[in-house]
Amino acid sequence: MVALTPSAPTRARASRRSRRTTLIAWGFAAPFVILFLVFMAGPIVASFFMSFTDLTTRDLQTPFNVNVVGFENYAKLFDDPRFLRSLLNTAAFVLVGVPLTMALALAVALALNTGISKFRTVFRVGYYAPVVTSIVAIAIVWRFILQPDGLLNAFLGWFGITGPDWLQSTTWALPSLILMAVWRNIGTLMVIFLAGLQGVPKEHHEAAMVDGANAFQRFGSITLPAMRPTLLFAAVITGIGYLQFFEEPFVMTRGGPLDSTLSTAMYTYNQFGFGNYSYASAASYVLFLAIVVLSLIQFRFLGRKD
């Protein structure tokens, strides 16, 4: 029988051992913890405090010698029509881009999972390939594809459609960037959805088929509910990624025409470039807050039934 209460010396030895283990464990964690505090946690906190000061490029060598200005930076931000425009563009990018990417990726995943038996690897590799590529590089390629005499308009020409000058049009520039982002991100969600579909119980589908449910009914009442956690995860990571879109306008439109593709991340970068460090920090914190809020909303919305 094991004694329920260990004797005093045993307890002392156990606690000495656990102290020793704690020391060793933090030894393992030390390099990570130090780098993390200096290059990640530090800047996250510093960014918050900086947003309440008037730090500019002139204070670079003396970052603690600044004035506290309270909410002035935030007040200025929400007074700037360009910042508001950037928020609107970013919101549109997320609200259109996320559902579109998810729907297409889910369709591809379902097709690969149920409909076909050959060439699955070829399809999977092909659809996933854009994910591994540099956004800067493919944005350049897409910039040429979307030119008035580019590949896309040549293709539309086969059907008698005269395509617009996509990137120079205030109407079409943002949708063009969304289209490219969808193209690049389908692969990630496809792989996640394929993994999620493995977790949908096959017996449920068979039972529903016996009951005469058609494919759409089975998808709505069996596949979708079983996929809820996966969909939630996919929505959160895609939304968080899209909230930060930056390379696309930087390379393809420089935020134009007339700020129609100016994203909040790009606005932040521009302000940083002008040397307005604390103002840029405030803008980045608005974006950060949006990221946190988005995660919470999506958790609530998709997690309703759990």
Binding site: F36, A41, A46, L112, R124, G126, I138, I186, S284, I291
Partner: protein, 273 residues
């Protein structure tokens, strides 16, 4: 009967989708071999009529893409090495050791998994400037030596290793460092392979931070050089820009096609069901 037809249509739709996915890459590669004169024509030819290597010659001659390529490799190498070493160490502590503060440490790792670079780059730049590291390799590398995702990945994998082998080693009198190096790490091959690929790729494609911290050409990484040239005076040089994109994208695509199972494994290992 109906079932066969449905599948047939699925193949058609999937193949059309595949063409749309792959076409930009094909267009990029073909464009990189076209002359400026050929590109100016409308409608543009699909295949280059008069294929030329001039774009690549300019890229590595007039523009210093050899240096940018080298910079990208150097940065990615150190970032990857740092992530493997440090993530494995914390991962071992989090997965296999009981210690005070473990829950807090893991919670911190989890909560910063999704903190975007755009939130931290301004203070990070102020810090880097005060350390005198702007426009240097350490400035490019240090902030990325650790990633919460790497820690998470290594912890998840190590959790799946049986405790018995560790207990056995402890009974044999091995210390924790010895166990970590001789028992645990040799079993972590798949996780390390996945982490290597993900980190290398992340570093290779990274843009915002190198853009901010590399202030002269000799420290540009490939994406920075490509982006800045693409909006500068070379912007209209279609073939040149396409060749630049090829240099950034094609090595990565080749690695992906060869090692694709590790990419998929990465998604599985980070705990997504």
């Amino acid at each position: 009967m109906t079932r066969t037809r449905t599948r047939w249509w699925l193949y058609v739709v999937l193949v059309l989708g595949l063409v749309a996915m792959v076409m930009p890459f094909v267009w990029m590669i073909l464009g990189s071999f076209k002359t400026t004169a050929e590109i100016r024509q409308y409608p543009t030819n699909f295949w280059p009529i008069d294929p030329t290597l001039d774009n690549y010659a300019q890229l590595f001659g007039r523009l210093d893409f050899t240096a940018f390529f080298t910079n990208s490799i150097i940065v990615a190498f150190f970032v990857t090495a740092g992530n493997i070493v440090f993530s494995s160490m914390v991962g071992y502590a989090l997965a296999k050791l009981e210690f005070r503060g473990k829950k807090l440490l893991f919670a911190v790792v989890l909560s910063t998994l999704m903190v975007p670079g755009v939130v931290t780059f301004v203070p990070l730049f102020v810090l880097t400037a005060n350390l005198g590291l702007v426009n240097s390799y350490p400035g490019l590398i240090l902030p990325f030596l650790i990633t919460p995702l790497g820690v998470f990945l290594m912890r998840q994998f190590m959790l799946s290793l049986p405790d018995d082998i560790i207990e056995a080693a402890r009974i044999d009198g091995a210390g924790e460092w010895r166990i970590f190096l001789r028992v645990i790490m040799p079993l972590c091959g798949p996780a390390v392979a996945t982490l290597t690929i993900l980190t290398f790729l992340g570093s290779w494609n990274n843009f915002l931070w190198p853009l901010v911290v590399a202030t002269t050409e000799d420290k540009y990484t490939l994406p920075v050089a490509l982006a800045l040239y693409s909006v500068g005076q070379n912007a209209a040089q279609y073939g040149l820009m396409m060749a630049g994109a090829v240099v950034v994208v094609v090595p990565v695509l080749l690695i992906f096609v060869v090692l694709q199972r590790y990419f998929v494994q990465g998604i599985a290992l980070t705990g997504i069901k």
